[in-house]
Subunit: 323 residues, 2 copies
């Protein structure tokens, strides 16, 4: 910069910052310790939707993470998304729907019980101006821990004191069945999911309300069967006025892998072929109808549109905009 400052091209005086560069003082503002709030609002008809970021789990990819693609293919797909190899960034975003009459939360975040780098959904709920006690209804998509753990704190206290909790009956029937648990390999993650479902729901079982796919589970919100990821896995269609969107839950997970390659079967899909069929059908419909879609593991703010191209599908994220 000094070279410039020696010249007198311009009306202003020469740059005098060189001395400051040589003997700098600390910036008055220290670097922040945390990411900025993850709160993104958008309108759907008369409803206000709020994406609430919970964090990201950096999951080491094991050899068989995608059952029908080898690790080199998975790493190549990550590389095309400018992500490092061998680690899958699993993002978590819960969806808050304010119908004007009801405050509805779809899935609950991890409450810090899945990874150290996730668990800020309640902080973001606060940043969004709401309290856990304000939530009227909680809709659960399925019983994997990252979707239900936010119902309880680490010491098993209820987090949302006033919320009715609605769950897919297929999930309740599968995960709360002791025979199914007994049949699961005791060393498998699936076995842990059975135990975790009991930890989360055991002492509040009488407060939990089951629902069937195809039914309205909250004002303007319809449960949509999306089986395969888990036996009762459910998506949610949200309608207000002339507008609709589809919260796809885990039907479609990380976009660089499973939007691009809907036939890929991640180990987390309990019924891989059925999940892939459900995923492909949903992506095809979303692309054909230019639907607004959301998914729990899409990068925050976790909503956008699906584009079909020659190689598969791609996510076009929404553009951040004023409310």
């Amino acid at each position: 910069m000094a070279a410039v400052t020696r010249r007198a091209f311009l009306a202003g005086p020469a740059i005098g910052a060189a001395a400051a560069l040589i003997a700098p003082i600390e910036a008055a503002t220290p670097p922040a310790k945390m990411q900025g709030p993850g709160v993104y609002r958008y309108r759907l008809g008369s409803y206000q939707i709020t994406a609430l970021y919970d964090g990201t789990w950096f999951l080491p990819i094991e050899r068989d993470f995608v059952r029908n693609a080898d690790r080199a293919e998975v790493n190549a797909a990550l590389g095309r998304a400018f992500l490092p190899p061998n680690v899958l960034p699993v993002s978590f975003t819960a969806l808050l729907v304010n119908t004007g009459k009801k405050l509805v939360l779809i899935d609950t975040g991890t409450a810090g019980q899945v990874a150290d780098t996730a668990g800020v959904m309640l902080d973001n709920l606060t940043a969004a101006g709401a309290k856990p006690a304000d939530v009227d209804t909680i809709l659960i998509s399925h019983f994997h821990p990252d979707h239900i753990d936010g119902l309880k704190s680490k010491d098993n206290a209820k987090v949302f004191p006033n919320a009715e909790i609605l769950v897919p009956q297929g999930e309740w029937a599968f995960w709360m069945d002791d025979g199914n648990m007994a049949r699961a390999d005791a060393k498998s993650p699936v076995h842990r999911y059975f135990l975790n479902a009991r930890r989360i729901f055991g002492d509040i079982a009488t407060e939990v309300r089951p629902f069937r796919p195809g039914t309205q589970v909250a004002p303007g919100i319809e449960a949509v069967a999306a089986f395969g990821h888990t036996p009762g896995h459910t998506a949610f269609a949200i309608h207000s006025g002339a507008q609709s969107m589809l919260a796809m839950s885990d039907t479609v997970r990380e976009p660089w892998l499973f939007v691009r390659h809907p036939g890929w079967q991640p180990r987390y899909d309990m019924d891989g072929p059925l999940a892939a069929k459900t995923r492909t059908r949903m992506l095809e419909r979303a692309a054909a109808e230019r639907m607004l879609v959301e998914a729990y593991h899409f990068p925050f703010p976790a909503c956008g549109h699906i584009v079909k191209d020659g190689r598969g599908y791609a996510l076009a994220p929404v553009m951040w905009a004023p409310l």
Copy 2:
């Protein structure tokens, strides 16, 4: 939902929410009036970078907005991005660089002086934990109002009391020259830009420091000539440790139009062919070197990577992640 509740599949009681749906009460949390904070942090070497959203201007697209593409082509490109026709959403995001020693702001937002839907950069600076008085250095890319208006409030008060203000000498030489102003059509936006530059810089001219491209303008930040958009338009290369990024300023504007079609010449590019050449060269280099790039008009958080494909280029936005 009632159909589900009549069944007794599960341990929990039947759904009893139907009555609540018939006689709803207001949700305890009213819909928010404003978008959530637009503050996104990332690391570059030892530096902390913060994207600060200022808002979005919804600009009606006039017939000749892109000099060498007709409106139908422009609308088709917007449609492919799931955006409505005839309106260009012009996003504004300023970049805060905390080097640990210096707090550097690159461009300043609009301070509400360009559109009613923009002007929240200072709110987001506050949300990011910094005050205007904390900013040590302001780097200006060029003198279009949306980049410099944030230096002053609507009543012409200085906003950043302690900041040195560094500007491209080519911009100062062009816009502060009364002969150039006299040659501009008095009814054109360009003429207004000349007047606005005098409003912003006139009474602080002795505090403004010019710089030349190719020089270091702040610790680790190098000014990069990117002429065409305006005569002295400048990008900034930021280096810390082994990492680098390129703040492209207005070399590349809205990605669905000008990343996809770098040869398109928006009316805002004062020298259309030169700007297109500069843009194409920069995109080509960014894609080839897989550089992290940022641009003032990219959708918040305004950073990502450039992918080259058969049809041109595309922006791959960064994935929102914990700090």
